[in-house]
Amino acid sequence: MSATSAAALFRRRRLKSVLWIGACGIFATAVAVILLLIMGYIVREGISAISIPFLTRLPRPTGISGGGVANGIVGTLIIVGIAALMAFPVGVLVGTYVAVYGHRRMSQWLSFLADVLAGVPSIAIGIYAYTLLVEPFRHFSAFSASFAFAVLMIPLVIRATEGAISIVPRELREAATALGAPEARVVLKILVVAARPGIITGLLLSLARVTGETAPLLFTAFGSQYWELRPGQPMAELSLQIFTYAISPYADWHAQAWGGALILILAVFVLSVLARLSVLFGREGRGHGGTA
């Protein structure tokens, strides 16, 4: 009697397991299919718009062929680049502090605040940047957009850094301390170095997160049809340009919007792949014991 009930139990458990694994498989496939459909559609619509002139020329009005998004691409790089210069140091330092001194009340507050900040809608951060950096000077600027992006990126970098450092084995820290290394050295040369792949992944993902944001740019970077490299001036940005073209009535602008979208998707794809690779190579690097 007990033997048959054990067999029945086993069968039931196996059935459950098969059902759950099957469900996981089905939903995972569904997600992958949706992603592939979106990517495939953007590639199909966008690939015909992409050409050398499209990548190297300024935008042109509808009806005049040969317009490009060169200023938008460069503008995106400048805006995101300045945002990274602001967000990376702050985010990594705060994240390190929170991870290393997690028991202190200050770091619990910082951690909580980072979570709250991560939940603020990007358009609200855009308005904040506008109120702080545009309205008082009566002047739109790429810098104000970078500031908004930096505010969006900081909580992500904090969380990623904190996560990466907290999974460094406790024994490493203890061993270093036991050998007499001062605290600063333990943190900078052991914890941060060991966590570097994870931190770099976090930085790249935070870049991917803001690349393609449009809402915070409307009232900050503003957009431009011209070449503009000065951070103090209104600047073109790729996703803004896509937005403007996509809501227009004209087929030639729609095609360029698809082309721009494809470039953005590719940029985010490359960032995500780099983030993956940094984890893989990071692991190998640590295995060889190198510091550089």
Partner: protein, 361 residues
């Protein structure tokens, strides 16, 4: 790499030192680059005039200013389409040299600027009545009353006798009407509801004229922007919606002949919208409605878009430049409008615009 403990220590120190030096050099280089960029004005010597507002104006402005800069390489005009409401807001905050709005600023909005404002009609638009009925690509006639009754929810089927009477011989299907409107506040909605208020007392008392209203028809669905309404109408058989002329022409949509006050049925075209505008040469920001005009060739759902300027710009030199650009835009640039499916201002309205510009200091 290092072998002994001591060597490791030294190596780590020198490593740190060399990295510190590298970082310093990098910062220096970055700094020099940044300085070069800030100094760059020499390379980009053009004065940039900044404007913002109406999405509707964007294609016309982008083409007009493209040609202006081609003629005057020392001036660029950066106009961005952030919406009419945003345009008024940025104009009031003085972050732009000029604003643009599909509906002129009202008294309350003007009070917020705390400075005299000039509003100039800059281009014309018309809202076409687009529909999606399988097999009927052309020739749908709609009277003023029928359009109002459809949007009031009183006519709910395409084979309603009121529609059939206007379209003898047309095989109207027994299909429910889906009413499509704008979900965002919009100048096109203002013009359309202004038209409905003119032709239907019931609409005027129940709903009224505004950039955004409570749509009474039970079958209403909203789309964001002209592109949203056009998209919904294209996808929904049995639907009807009001869409800006340029979107109709560029998207190959079916749209109706609309009856005007004179009784004739007219398509929205560059000519019929201009005819409606020409009936009112003294248009001003206080009295700007050109819906339901009475001439035989007038398209009844027409309206202006406006440029907003300060009478006394803070920076006199920039103000002078803005005045020059606007003078050109309201007169010699008008033929450009046609090339992007926009309606050029009639001569008498151009003169009216110049009169208002004359007040600018």
């Amino acid at each position: 790499m290092a072998t002994g403990e001591q060597a490791y220590e030294e190596d780590a120190l020198s490593d740190l030192e060399s990295r510190r030096r590298q970082l310093g050099a990098g910062l220096l280089r970055g700094g020099a680059f940044a300085v070069a960029l800030t100094m760059a004005p020499a390379a980009f010597a053009a004065t940039q005039i900044v404007g913002a507002g109406s999405t509707f104006d964007y294609p016309f402005f982008s083409k007009a200013f493209y040609e202006y800069t081609a003629k005057h390489p020392d001036v660029t005009v950066n106009y961005q389409s952030i919406g009419s409401g945003g345009g008024i807001q940025q104009f009031t905050a003085k972050t732009v040299d000029f604003g643009a709005s599909d509906v002129p600023m009202n008294a309350a909005e003007l009070a917020r600027t705390k400075a005299p404002v000039l509003q100039i009609p800059i281009t014309l638009g018309g809202a076409g009545i687009a529909y999606n009925l399988p097999g009927i690509a052309k020739g749908m006639h709609l009277s003023r009353e029928v359009i109002a009754d459809i949007y009031l929810g009183k006519i709910t089927k395409w084979n309603d006798p009121a529609i059939a009477k206007l379209n003898p011989g047309m095989k109207l299907p027994d299909m429910a009407i889906t009413v499509v409107h704008r979900s965002d506040g919009s100048g096109t909605t203002y013009i359309f509801t202004d038209f409905l208020s003119h032709v239907s007392p019931e609409w005027k008392s129940k709903v009224g004229t505004n950039k955004d209203v409570q749509w009474p028809a039970p079958s209403s669905v909203g789309g964001k922007g002209n592109e949203g309404v056009a998209g919904l109408v294209k996808q929904t058989p049995g639907s009807i919606g009001y869409v800006e002329l340029a979107y109709l022409l560029e998207n190959d949509m079916a749209y109706a002949l609309v009856q005007n006050k004179a009784g004739t049925y007219v398509y929205p075209t560059i000519g019929t919208v201009a005819a409606a505008a020409a009936t009112k040469p003294n248009v001003s920001s206080q009295d700007f409605s050109i819906v339901d005009t009475a001439c035989a060739q007038c398209y009844p759902i027409s309206g202006y878009s406006w440029v907003l300027l300060y009478q006394k710009p803070q920076d006199a030199a920039r103000g002078k430049l803005v005045k020059e650009i606007m003078t050109w835009l309201v007169t010699r640039a008008q033929p450009i409008a046609k090339t992007v499916d926009y309606v050029p201002l009639p001569d008498n309205v151009q003169k009216q615009g110049l009169n208002v510009l004359g007040e600018m200091e």
